[in-house]
């Protein structure tokens, strides 16, 4: 099966500096894949390598089975890129900007006006279609940059810090658009970001980089379970739990009591599957449960644990 993106020991150096080191990953079609890492982690270099703008020093990579170095134009006609600091032709209108990129990327002339208009509408820019881009706000420019990356209907969308420098409202608008694009259109999205909230919201899987090295890769749940082998579960009770039930819970395989207040228990369970059994035991012993909430780790907690070196 051909992956949308695949890299094999991809390495890129600039003199003595290694920007990307031995990166091996694969991204499936329709997946939203996030590359996370601090500034200088190598995220932008990865995007440039995947579009054939930079060549690898070592290793290989493929986009839909094509090598971006030898099949550059073919790969670039399948990809749309939102660069880290997207700029536009400010003396041209939004429509002229989009038309230029669409023509350049091979959109057929007869489809051109409709496609451009469709993009302007999708990104809420139709009322400003014939205004010069120089007068646009940063959020509007970012939406136009997204429209530009999508105007030729690429199979893969590379987004390098799509919400950097935007105010929370504009950032949310952009995030919502990305979510819509991936969920509704099934497009493969390769998202580089250091905005962990954004990554948690949008990504199916993430890879974490630091100084060009891959630290971890997987879904947030996979990464969580690899860092914290046990899971915390909060149990709120209506009435205090009978003491024999508590003793019984202690004796169960894979379960430990972290704290036991009269109306609030914190349990540590080895795996998620044990939670229904715990509920059953409490209810069976006469306990009255108000709420059971397994503690979900945020991507932020996962990220910092991995950057700290807690990953096994």
């Amino acid at each position: 099966m051909t992956h949308a993106i695949e890299t094999d020991h991809l390495t890129r150096t600039f003199g003595a500096i290694t920007a990307v080191a031995n990166l091996s990953l694969s991204v499936e079609e329709g997946e939203v894949f996030g590359i996370l890492g601090p500034n200088g982690a190598g995220k932008t270099t990865v995007v440039r390598l995947m579009n054939g703008i930079l060549s690898p020093s070592q290793g290989k990579l493929w986009v839909y089975g094509k090598d971006p170095v030898s099949d550059g134009p073919e790969v670039r006609s399948m990809t749309g890129v939102l660069t880290e600091s997207p700029s536009h032709y400010e003396r041209l209108t939004a429509r002229q900007n989009l038309t230029f990129y669409a023509t350049m990327s091979g959109v057929a002339e007869e489809k051109l006006p409709n496609r451009v208009w469709e993009m302007l509408q999708l990104f809420g820019l139709e009322k400003r279609a014939d205004d010069l881009v120089g007068g646009f706000s940063k959020g509007m420019k970012q939406r136009l940059a997204l429209a530009r990356a999508l105007v030729h209907e690429p199979k893969v969308l590379f987004l390098d810090e799509p919400t950097a420098g935007l105010d929370p409202g504009a950032a949310k608008q952009v995030d919502d658009l990305i979510a819509e694009l991936s969920r509704q259109e099934g497009r493969t999205v390769f998202l580089c970001t250091h905005n962990l909230h954004e990554a948690q919201l949008l990504c199916d899987r993430v890879a974490m980089l630091n100084q060009g090295r891959l630290l971890a890769m997987g879904t947030i749940q996979e990464l969580t379970s690899r860092i914290w082998q046990v899971m915390s579960v909060d149990v709120d009770l209506l009435t205090p739990l009978p003491s024999d039930v508590l003793e019984h819970l202690k004796g169960l395989e894979g379960i430990a009591i972290e704290s036991a207040a009269p109306l609030h228990l914190i349990l540590r369970v080895r795996q998620r599957d044990l939670i229904p059994m715990v509920v059953q035991e409490i209810v069976h012993g006469g306990g009255e449960i108000v709420r059971v909430s397994p503690r979900e780790y945020s991507l932020e907690e996962v990220y910092f644990a991995i950057q700290k070196g807690d990953f096994t």
Partner: protein, 232 residues
């Protein structure tokens, strides 16, 4: 449409919308074209000095226009980072470069012809007789001049894409000094007895073609990696 022409069309449109740059170019044309023709025609009469003036001054003015506009098309796009978006398109680097060269040369040549018309018009209004440019000079204006502009724009574009910000600043100073030198010395370099013959025009055309071929050959040393690494 051909990728190269798409880029060329965009460059022309952008230059025509750059009011400040266009205004600078027109002022330059009026000042240098006008004053040079005035000083030449008031010192010596007849069509000979006029031919010499047009032959030497007009290509230099064209090169200046090319310099002015290529800074917009190549350097400014590189400084703003927009060039990376172009590099991410399916177009080849050569198509992008050639499109930009055409897109810059067309308006630069248009303004250069305007400068030639201004010089000729001014000369005729000052002279008691009708001064017509010679046939070799007309051929020079319509063949050699655009080729010289294209070669210069190509070379400048090549250098601006290849070099980093600091090197480009140094290059800009060097070009400005070279242009001032050419503008002030162009006529003196050829001497007063110099006449515009078919041989002279043919030779300058050959030089322009060779320069254009050399510039085009140089673009094989351009690569996307070099451009993207030198984006400030």
């Amino acid at each position: 449409m051909n990728g190269m022409l798409i880029v060329a069309q965009k460059e022309i449109r952008q230059i025509l919308k750059s009011r400040n740059v266009l205004a600078s170019a027109i002022i330059f044309v009026i000042v240098f074209g006008g004053f040079s023709s005035l000083s030449t025609l008031t010192s010596e009469g007849g069509g000979g000095p006029l031919d010499q003036l047009v032959f030497t001054l007009v290509p230099v003015l064209g090169i200046f226009m090319g310099y002015l506009f290529s800074s917009q098309a190549f350097l400014r796009e590189k400084q703003g980072g927009i060039v990376e978006t172009l590099l991410c398109s399916p177009l080849s680097l050569r198509e992008i470069w050639m499109g930009k060269v055409i897109g810059v040369t067309v308006p630069a040549y248009g303004l250069t012809l305007l400068a030639a018309a201004l010089i000729l018009g001014l000369a005729n209004s000052l002279s008691q007789m009708t001064l017509l440019p010679s046939l070799p000079l007309i051929a020079h204006l319509f063949t050699t001049v655009p080729l010289f502009i294209a070669a210069t724009v190509g070379l400048l574009g090549f250098a601006q894409l290849l070099l980093g910000l600091r090197e480009n600043q140094i290059l800009n100073f060097a070009i400005i000094f070279a242009l001032i030198f050419l503008l002030t010395m162009s006529q003196a370099l050829f001497g007063s007895g110099f006449t515009i013959s078919w041989v002279v025009v043919g030779s300058s055309l050959a030089i322009a073609i060779l320069l254009l071929i050399a510039t085009s050959w140089l673009t094989r040393f351009l690569d996307k990696e070099r451009i993207v690494i030198t984006i400030p």
